[in-house]
């Protein structure tokens, strides 16, 4: 479970967040430049808040009072960007097994076969990255994130840039991740309908405030 309450300020930009994750999918909507991606980067540990805390499954990731800031690679939070961000010098299988080969996985929650079947990418394993379509690349990016055994999956507008048909092809995979392997997700988007399909709890980032919990 995610619990966070913090204030972040950089130059003229500020973000005030108090979020508790109740549902297995938390959707965040808001206009461009409101700070949705900044919120994800704060959770990930790429930015540090000026004050406040971030707890994930009772582990302290950030606490400004205790001067704790766990580095990004120890947070067990995986990120999927709008673009697939696959490693171009590796093939699909090498991308998927990247965390297993280079990381320090304490516990492997999922196996390659299981994830490949779930996302229907098992026939692509030996493909070069440059031979993939946009939808395939994004599914591999999601698979790679899941194979790092994260406790939380951050999705930063993962379907932006894909056409409606492709979106409708990929959205069911998020439902399967929610129902079949139960990885909690924070899903940032401009499109309410994507979140409605995922039955997500939706909170709106407005006037630099993001909140779903009483302070």
């Amino acid at each position: 479970m995610l619990q966070c309450e913090f204030q972040y300020q950089k130059d003229a930009f500020s973000l005030d967040a108090a979020v508790q994750m109740q549902n297995s999918v938390l959707g965040i909507v808001g206009p461009s430049g409101a700070g949705k991606t900044t919120f994800l980067k704060l959770l990930l540990g790429l930015y540090q808040p000026q004050s406040g805390y971030i707890h994930l499954n009772k582990q302290i990731l950030t606490d400004t009072n205790l001067k704790i800031h766990i580095p990004i690679h120890q947070r067990k939070i995986a990120l999927v960007f709008q673009q697939a961000m696959l490693f171009p010098h590796m093939n699909v299988e090498q991308n998927l097994l990247y965390a297993k080969k280079w990381g320090k996985l304490e516990q492997e929650k999922f196996q390659l076969k299981e994830i490949a079947e779930l996302l229907e990418i098992d026939h692509l394993l030996q493909r070069r990255i440059q031979q993939l379509s946009g939808g395939e690349a994004q599914r591999i990016s999601i698979g790679r994130a899941l194979l790092s055994s994260p406790e939380l999956l951050l999705l930063d507008e993962p379907l932006t840039g894909l056409d409606t048909k492709l979106k409708q092809q990929i959205l069911p995979f998020f439902t399967r991740i929610r129902d079949e392997i139960q990885v909690p997700m924070i899903y940032v988007t401009h499109h309410h309908e994507e979140l409605e399909q995922l039955d997500a709890e939706i909170i709106e980032l407005q006037d630099h405030q993001l909140s779903n919990s009483p302070r």
Binding site: A78, S148, S149
Partner: protein, 228 residues
Amino acid sequence: MLTPEELSALYLSAKVAGFATAISLPFAILLAWILARHEFRLKYVVEALLHLPMVLPPVVLGYLLLIVFGGNGWIGQWLQQWGIQLAFNWKGAVLAAMIVAFPLMVQPIRLSFQMINPQLEQVANSLGVQPYKVFCSISLPLALPGILIGSILCFSRSLGEFGATITFVGNIPDETRTIPIAIYSLLQQPDGEQMALRLVLLSLGLAFAALLANYWIMQKYQQKIQER
């Protein structure tokens, strides 16, 4: 066929350039990475210092090296306690070549690092991989073309280094007489022009081969990217 003197100059030049390139490479990668990925106070001072050897007259550089690393220099005296002598020694020629060629090596490596999308590294970190492993598995392989080009430029520049080398390590046959210094020596002799011309042609061949290697590597890499 090459005469023993020509062979000696060729061997010495290759040895000096090879050592200069190999020793410079880790430092160049580190500095290129820092300059490409980090903003810090006085960064412009580091950049100016890096490029200084390119704008300084080589003789000035050689003289500065003599002051610092010579037998009576601050560092030179200290090194002598450990039995290391750089002035008037081929190892000094390596140091001179390293300093002169270093900016040429750093620049393409830095550009290569800058061309890598930082989000690739962030994603790799978020997969639970430590930063140094991300550097080894993502940044370094993707910067390989820049590293190869930087190495070739450093090697070629080291082969042609003259001013700083002759000032710092002199012109000692079989010790510090590299190809450019050998050409200079031959041109001082009344009958040396023919032999100098042979070495000039050899230099031309080496420089051309280095540039061909450069283009060949770029072409191979582009092919590889297109195949993927």
